[in-house]
Structures are given as structure tokens and as C-alpha cells.
Amino acid sequence: MSGFGPVSAFYVLAVLSIGSALAVMAARSIIHAVLFLVLFFVSLAAMFVLLSADFVAVAQLLVYAGAIGVLVVFAILLTPSRDRRGMETKFVGPGLLAGAVVAGTVVFIAFNTNWDTASNDFPSTVDAIGQALLNRWALPFEIASVLLIAAMIGAIVVVGGRGVDLDTHAAGPATRLVRRER
């Protein structure tokens, strides 16, 4: 892709997405981390648009930024911990090393392979995705719907649904360890 528009957009979005991912790591309070995560999702959606994947970009905005963001926020509010910061384990250094090794390996492979490049620009991805999902990949499509309903039912059962008995809140270890913080 050449031209002033796509190139400048790519660099701006690359800086934005990497910056917000680093900010998720370095954020002091967990709510800030969630908001940076949502910014990361939005910047990735913009990158998908840059790659001519308009339907996937809109799906990413709808599912990730709209739904999973809200889900993570609810989870944080339902689990108030003594300090709201995400304290680090003792694996920060080794974690950085592992991340750097993995990223370095992938970058090395990316630069040293002869990719069979072409320029696949779709006139309308919605049409193509619709055709593919109902003709060739119909079985994974149906399995994905079964997976989603299994996840929904599983989540409701795990959390306890409506019939959560109030005894677990009464005098267990949870009430002693938790101080009601902001």
C-alpha cells in the first residue's frame, strides 16, 4: 500500500496500538488499564480498516470494544481487592524476556521468508464472508453458535444465577479478607 494516506495512517495506528498495550502494562489503577485496553481495541479496529477488512473491523468494535470491554469492567467492579492496582509478580523481568524472544522469533521469520505476495483487495468483504460462511464453512459456523450457547449457560451456572444462597456471603473467609474499598 502506498500513498500518503495509508502510510501515515499505518504509522499513527501502530504507535497508538503499541502505546496503549504498553499503557495497559504500566497503568497504575486497574480502571485505567481497562480504558487503555478499550483504546487498544479501537486502534486495532482502525488497523483492520486499513487492511480492507471493513466487516471484521466493525465486528471487532461491536464485540470487543462494546461487549468484552463492558464485561471486564463489570468483573473488576464485582471483585474489589485490597489494592486496586494489579501488583506485579516476580516474573516481570523473565516475562519481558519471554515476550521479546517470541516477538523476535516471529520478526526474524517474517523478514527471512519469501512471501508469495499478491494484493487481494476485496470489493466487498461482506458479500464474500456471507458466501463463505454459508457454503464452505457452514459447519464451523454452526459449531460456533453451539459454543456460544454453551459459554452463556456455563457462565450463568458458574456465577450462580438467581438462586445464589446468601449463606456464602454471611460468615465465610471472604468477608474477613475483604475491606470495602472504592
Binding site: 486495532l44 466487516f55 476485496f122 459459554a151
Partner: protein
Amino acid sequence: MVSLEHFLVVGAVLFGIGLWIALSKRNAVLILMGIEIMLNAVNLTLLAFSRFVKSPTPIAGHIFVIFVITVAAAEASVALAMVVSVYRNRGTIDVDQIDLLRF
């Protein structure tokens, strides 16, 4: 000129950052955020390949990404439900303190 390698580098760096977050945080919800960053980096790489590499069905990359988004949503919901449930039973979601099954 932006080509395939640029997107692959960005995807790799994002994957590395996601792995770093998942390995170095104590709060279970933050670990889940690192996992989501990793999944998104993979999505970016798949779409870059779909756009820039010759293939008989270039739309397969997009289909794969849609399924990854679907599975990530299902997994995030179940994982967060488990986190909330663990919080109710243990009182904490610090993964260093939830170690009853360790040797």
C-alpha cells in the same frame, strides 16, 4: 510503502507485550487482558496475511478472524464468570494466593 512485513512486526510486538502482561500481573482480570491482547495481535497477523499473500481463497483469513473473535468472546465470559466465583469463595483474585492445588 507499507507491506506485509510492517504488519507482521506490529503483530509480533503486540503479541510479545500481551505475553509480558499475562506473565507478570497478579490480578486475574489483568491476566485476561493480556490474553485478549495476544488474541488481537493474532487477528492482525491473520488479516495481514489474507490481504498480502496469494491464496486460492483469500477470504479464509477473514473467516478465521471472525471465529477467533467469537471464541475469544465466549472464553472471556466464562473466564470472568470463574474469576467472580473464585472471588466469592476465596475473597481474593490474586493468583499467587489461589494455590490450593499446588504441590
